[in-house]
């Protein structure tokens, strides 16, 4: 009885509110549904769950600040689609999100899931924002109208890593000319090292040796000993965490004083520092983002993230956070949650300066849907922390280079 009365009362109040709000088609009751497509279970679930935190933080903050103003304060509602890290499941979950009337889909972390699910969204004419998945093919040669890729291209990791090496070498008067590429021997390492080789050639560096190694090796001494003999100006590594740790330890044991240029993955894992301690000092890695970037707001957002979830905000989370803000910005400009109108607004995105916490000036989208200014950062372990050291426009500190010899 009481419950019925309450329900009836609520309904009346809602009706009254709608009647009192003549300003537009949207009412406070019309939530905007946002599809979040991520691997929330399965082997890569920890990464999927962490990526989701970036979306959740952005949505909670927007809702707490009064929702989407152009839609009369409409709240954003997350609708989860769990890909399980599997492209087939990803396609099914995308179809499900489409029928659940989401205004847009954000996802899906893995390139092999993002590629087919953007296809589904394109067919259904649902805007799809890709914050993290990097494969070049997601935006290249497809002429998709509804895919918007905030994530940098995979090939830019190598481009920016090698650009940094050239820059830091020339700046310090100790140019990097001869490099050794060393990579774990699965698809990840092999494809990444190909990009690095091409970038090195483009920038006039000589790749003196390419070494593929098995990631689960109990010992790497012979290989590191060979690198000591070759004595390159830099060692470019594509490693997972276990091999990254083992290689650095062995380099110290053999006294190999060659700067380490890691490629995200193992070298950006917080475990790299906790496992190596002092030995991690001065290692470089390419990364998507760092809380210390010279972008107003970046540090505060990272602090709020840490307070809310109890873990530090990483590059993926910054990208999912920022991509959610791209959607919010488009909703405000479109003044509508309609998919077609939203798509038009997304295409005109131009979020610049401090409003964009990613390490470049403006987020906008080319015809292909790619954010063209996309840029990676270089981090260096300094005093037990990852510190951004490049590009100089946004980096928090200067790189320590040449790297001091092992003590």
């Amino acid at each position: 009885m009481l419950r019925q009365a309450l329900l009836a009362g609520t309904a009346l109040v809602t009706l009254a509110l709608v009647a009192l709000n003549p300003s537009g088609p949207a009412s406070a009751a019309d939530d905007v549904k946002v599809g979040i497509l991520l691997p929330l279970s399965g082997p890569v679930a920890p990464i999927g769950q962490n990526n989701r935190r970036g979306h959740a933080l952005a949505i909670d903050e927007i809702n707490a600040a009064g929702g989407i103003k152009a839609l009369g304060g409409a709240k954003l509602v997350m609708i989860d689609g769990d890909t399980q890290g599997n492209p087939k499941v990803g396609i099914q979950e995308t179809e499900k999100l489409v029928t659940q009337n989401v205004s847009a889909i954000l996802g899906a972390y893995q390139s092999n899931v993002t590629f087919p699910s953007t296809q589904v969204a394109e067919k259904a004419a649902v805007p799809y924002i890709d914050p993290v998945a990097i494969a070049d093919t997601i935006t290249e040669g497809r002429n998709f109208k509804y895919t918007f890729k905030v994530a940098p291209k995979a090939s830019w990791y190598a481009r920016d890593q090698l650009k940094f090496m050239k820059w830091v070498g020339e700046k310090s008067g100790k140019p990097i000319k001869r490099v050794v590429l060393m990579y774990e021997d699965t698809l990840f390492g092999q494809s990444t090292s190909k990009g690095q080789e091409a970038s090195a050639k483009e920038l006039g560096m000589e790749v003196v040796e390419k070494i593929a190694y098995p990631a689960e090796s109990p010992d790497m001494t012979p290989t590191i000993s060979r690198i000591k003999q070759i004595a390159p100006d830099a060692l470019v590594l594509v490693s997972y965490i276990a091999d990254a740790v083992l290689i650095t330890k062995t380099m110290k044991e053999l006294g190999v004083n060659v700067p380490i240029m890691g490629t995200s993955a193992g070298h950006i894992d917080p475990a790299y520092i906790t496992n190596l301690g002092q030995l991690a000092e001065n290692s470089f890695t390419v990364g998507e983002w760092n809380p210390d970037l010279k972008k107003k707001g970046a540090a505060e957002i990272a602090a709020r993230f840490q307070a809310k979830f109890g873990v530090p905000m990483n590059g993926h989370a910054a990208e999912t956070y920022m991509s959610t803000m791209v959607l919010v910005d488009a909703l405000e400009r479109a003044g509508s949650a309609d998919r077609a109108k939203l798509r038009e607004a997304l295409a005109k995105t131009n979020i610049c300066g401090d409003s964009n916490i990613l390490p470049y000036n403006c987020i906008r989208f080319e015809e292909s849907g790619q954010s063209p200014e996309g840029q990676l950062v270089m981090l260096q372990v300094q005093n037990g922390k990852f510190v951004s050291v490049w590009p100089p426009e946004v980096a928090a500190a200067a790189p320590v280079f040449p790297v001091p010899a092992w003590k």
Partner: protein
């Protein structure tokens, strides 16, 4: 190729070989006495690593003290596992025994995942990175200690089996189970001892590795495989075979890393040599007797 790189490779192969040997000695002892293939062997290596790690993090105990402590602890663990889990399947078909040890392996890995999280850990000791340089070849102290202790432990086990009554009883059980029972040996008890000793060996190897290796729940898997290769190469059930086999495989892995077109092909070298030896000597280098 200069001589320093070659020297470094040979030294690292020998140092690695000592660890391989100790892991394989435990495996071959268990097989020699009980005819049980312990597919969870590498997972006890992992437990040994976490044992040293936890003692160090919680109580600040140095890993070399943990190495001493690990012997009774892992002996008792092996004893308990044999008497509660393995004994019921001793007379069962081989496939059942294999299922049991593979299941044990999965159990231990997932238990470690649950208790210690999937994160990689390293035990950081102040002397961990110290090295001596001899003719240009860097030799890590902690690796030398690990290898020397491993060989000493294997040798100790060898003389224990040769010289003591318990050792002789173990060998009797290995050679003729029914005969051993007939002369009044407590075979069940001897099996507990054998499994306990085997697990103590691999646990010790794990502890000795912590100053220079990383720790993770799946870290034991490749070592299980290598231990089988070493033990079969030396002759399953032969202690000297496992010891020599450990050094042979350690050296081949190291040299393979250097001389194969790419380090990722080093296992091809290992298994090629393995196949050739088995073709020429199917019973392994030291064929089938426990000592």
């Amino acid at each position: 190729m200069n001589s320093i790189v070659l020297g470094q490779t040979i030294v690292s192969g020998l140092l690695l070989g000592g660890i391989f040997a100790l892991v394989a000695v435990g495996l071959t002892l268990i097989f020699g006495v009980m005819r049980i293939l312990n597919f969870a062997h590498g997972d006890f290596l992992m437990l040994g690593m976490y044992f040293a790690f936890l003692l160090s993090v919680l109580f600040g105990i140095d890993p070399y003290v943990s190495a001493l402590l690990s012997l009774p602890v892992f002996f008792a663990l092996g004893w308990a596992i044999q008497s509660f889990l393995i004994r019921p399947v001793l007379q069962a078909p081989e496939s059942i025994q294999i299922l049991l040890t593979v299941g044990l392996s999965l159990l231990l890995q997932n238990l470690a995942l649950f208790l210690f999280s999937p994160d990689f850990q390293s035990l950081r000791v102040s002397y961990g990175g110290n090295t001596a340089t001899i003719f240009g070849v860097s030799v890590s102290y902690v690796r030398v200690v690990a290898s020397v202790v491993a060989v000493a432990a294997s040798a100790g086990l060898f003389f224990f089996l040769r010289g003591t009554d318990v050792g002789k009883a173990l060998r009797a059980c290995a050679e003729e189970r029914l005969g051993a029972m007939a002369v009044g040996l407590n075979v069940d008890r001897m099996y507990n001892v054998a499994f306990g000793l085997g697990i103590a060996c691999v646990g010790l190897a794990g502890v000795l590795m912590t100053p220079f290796f990383y720790i993770a729940p799946q870290v034991g898997l490749p070592f299980t495989l290598t231990a089988f290769v070493v033990a079969v190469l030396g002759g399953l059930g032969s202690l000297p075979g496992a010891l020599i086999g450990g050094f042979v495989i350690g050296l081949i892995e190291s040299l393979g890393e250097l001389f194969m077109p790419s380090p990722s092909m080093k296992q091809i070298a290992t298994f090629a040599v393995f196949l050739v030896i088995l073709l020429l000597r199917p019973q392994g280098l030291f064929g089938g007797k426990l000592t």
